[in-house]
Symmetry: C2
Subunit: 428 residues, 2 copies
């Protein structure tokens, strides 16, 4: 496709130029690095906004949470394999430096994939060399096991820094969790508009973590399933329904403050204020029974129309839900529908959903192994995900889904100054 | 990102309009269907060409072979679970009709995801409802087992139609093949510039094949690893090297005729002329040792420079390889390098490479399970893939790769008239 030509040419034309002045690159440090990665010079014409530019890495909060959801995901959970706290800290510092560079569209390290001498090991793996930042965000989280005591030893001297809400989630009816793809001491959520950029970033962090961490599990998401900004069109999940319509949106700052960010006075706020809890659930979707159900059954299950995404009984996607509306003497939105049970009116809370669709090959029984890698951010998992999920006990959708993995992480606040690093307040 | 807004708006604006006159939609039948999918109205401005438009479905050859490689892949191999030839034929006819529609950016069936009555089962699963054709191609292939005799019974009466070259590939040194993700009676290669469009297409074919076929294995590819047209910039594979520089390119029609298409006089040409053989190899890449090797070691292994992709001893990516050039009394391109051994001069043949990078979670040993899903098209697998792969016996790259799956399929020629269907000449 000649799109590739023009993209390729513009990349090559600007190859090696530093990123200063590049549209969308706002992060400090973007102009550094003699052997920088290519950067997009201007947003594409025609009014379409830039999906190639950089998202600022520094700030009060980590990027990748209220950042408008990018198209692709590579999520990875790690076990820490060292018992040396200093090594772990060093790695987090090295990760932060690399994340700063990569989110600005640069190589993971100073000399890059082709710098240094021929007998040096490159400090970047190179597969994103010609690619722009592509909206890359890297979001780090700490799992409950990082704070644990193992064989009577406080693993990293963090036992008394664990905030109460940072514990494994309770069991829910119907769970079919595989421990091999659940949990983790650390996680990195890489989101970008180009999957190669997300994969490249994760891989270079893995490389920097050699000997300190080992990959526990990883998940690719091929398409976002929720909008997280009112400026985004609502994508569809694998049930064919619009997803994210009534999500917490970045623009709703008061709800974000209330439901997403850990705040002074909350448990662990000494290091976690400005951060958030991340819950991941790999949810297998039973595609075959869903695909043989009627349109009415599907719409009654969700509580919205398939085409427009309107609440049942209404016409437009963004019409407010009305749980009192009746059709033929029945509630238009059934009380067993997903939307009825998940809505704040009935769950009593709200979460920020930021999930991705996956297809992970087939299941050995002649079916695709496909579903939703559910990601939620909240101020407290107990009053966030867990409260909603408990309320979904009678959800008609349960017939069509099965949760196969679970994890929870505390994501520290954003990195601010040039010397700051992921987890500094926790480890100081 | 506000890109999503403008895209979303233009889709919504044109939602429900038939595709006639839409840029890039050339396929017959694109204008049909009252409840058509959204279609992009004009190519994006700014000189960037259209990655949203449709690729013609009909033609002398199937699309998806010399079609400039799209960005994303969903490949699926099927077992046929019926022993009724008529059922198989019916399914191939239904698949062809659905493929015709979906590659034009329409729903899989007439009534779509929201047509018919509320108590009808929709005939499209709906997750691509708002998405354009996105360059979707669907390419079908028939595996050797389809022509087999099982328990003394000729499965579908095709035993004497099997062309000689359509047999399982021979074993190669170093192979570590997993039979569960190898082989297959049928395959569909879905390529598109939007992964959701590729996944949607495969899923709807699976749905139409219920009771006739069952998914044997499936593979998602997140990024193409080869250019197949001289109009495309060369992408990079997970070793960080440009891949596809010296590929057979669509524009080189005489080489394509010679090396890709089955031609009158070839075995099986009565039904396969105009078709091609498809070889897939899932190749795990040993990322960690590669990432700790020096730049010199990497470049000597491939035979090209990492940054520019130039043959060693030359400067530009497209400079011709010169296997006689020397540096300090040694051949510039080592005789154990991948390019030396794979080049037509030394392999005596050529293939069309059309592979994709994959990351399939982690391997349980703390590493990503990542690599290249290698796809090659050729006129004869024996004088194509097998001949090259045999010549790679001494390839220095073997230290860094391991083949974990293998399959071969005969892809019939393109569908032509309105009544034509995939495999008609084979089953008639
Ligand atoms: C495969 C699993 C799931 C699918 C397919 C799914 C799908 C949907 C859809 C289509 C909507 C309506 C559109 C919208 O407002 O976003 C929705 C809403 C929602 N979902 Fe889910 N969902 C899934 C799992 C979950 C889980 C596990 C939770 C939390 C425990 C959850 C929480 C919510 C919430 C809070 C809303 C908004 C309800 C409202 O305010 O109206 N969902 N979901
Ligand atoms: C993970 C595995 C592989 C990797 C990373 C890889 C990578 C590369 C690279 C970087 C090039 C040079 C650029 C180009 O001309 O495209 C190349 C060329 C080539 N490769 Fe591979 N390759 C792999 C496997 C294979 C296999 C299995 C075959 C066939 C058996 C193959 C056949 C070729 C051919 C024919 C060329 C063109 C050589 C020339 O004409 O100069 N490759 N490959």
């Amino acid at each position: 496709m000649s799109d590739d030509v023009s993209r390729g040419l513009s990349r090559r034309r600007f190859f090696g130029l530093a990123g200063a002045g590049t549209a969308g690159v706002l992060a400090a440090g973007a102009a550094g690095g003699a052997i920088g990665r290519a950067t997009a010079e201007v947003p594409p014409a025609g009014g379409a906004a830039d999906t190639t530019g950089a998202v600022p890495f520094t700030g009060a909060h980590q990027a990748g949470i209220v950042t408008p959801a990018q198209d692709r995901l590579h999520f990875v959970a790690f076990d820490v394999v060292t018992d040396d706290r200093a090594e772990l800290v060093e790695m987090l510092q090295a990760w932060t430096a690399a994340a700063r560079r990569m989110t600005a569209g640069q190589d993971a390290g100073e000399v890059g994939a082709v710098g240094g001498g021929p007998y040096d090991v490159p400090d970047d793996t190179g597969e994103a060399m010609d690619l722009p930042a592509a909206g890359l965000t890297l979001t780090v989280g700490f799992g409950p096991t990082l704070f644990a005591t193992a064989d009577g030893v406080d693993r990293f001297g963090l036992a008394d820094r664990r905030p109460g809400p940072l514990t494994e989630l309770p069991a829910f009816p119907g769970d079919a969790l595989d421990p091999a793809i659940s949990g983790g001491d650390l996680c990195v959520q890489a989101c970008a508009n180009d999957p190669q950029v997300a994969v490249h970033a994760v891989r270079n962090l893995i490389r920097l973590g050699a000997g300190v961490v080992s990959v526990r599990w990883s998940q690719l998401g091929f398409g976002r399933t929720s909008s997280t900004s009112s400026a985004q069109a609502t994508p569809r999940n694998l049930f064919g329904f619009k997803d994210g319509t009534d999500n917490l949106k970045a623009e709703n700052t008061s709800a974000i403050e209330k439901f997403v960010w850990v705040t002074d006075g909350d448990p662990g706020a000494d290091w976690l204020a400005g951060g958030s809890y991340l819950v991941t659930r790999r949810i297998r979707m039973r595609i075959e029974p869903w695909d043989t159900s009627t349109l009415a059954e599907q719409e009654q299950t969700i509580g919205r129309t398939k085409k427009a995404g309107a609440p049942l009984g209404q016409r437009g996607e963004f019409d407010p839900v009305d749980f009192t509306a009746q059709v033929d003497g029945e509630f238009a939105i059934p009380q067993t529908s997903h939307v009825f049970l998940a809505h704040p009116t009935n769950s009593g809370t709200a979460i920020l959903r930021r999930g991705y669709s996956f297809v992970d090959g087939s299941d050995g029984l002649g079916r695709l192994d496909a579903g939703l890698f559910f990601i939620a951010y909240q101020r407290n998992p107990e009053t966030g995900f867990t409260q909603v999920q408990r309320n979904l006990r009678t959800d008609a959708m349960n017939e069509y889904v099965q949760h196969t993995s679970s994890a929870v992480f505390a994501c520290p606040p954003g990195v601010t100054g040039d010397d700051d690093w992921w987890g500094r307040a926790l480890f100081s």
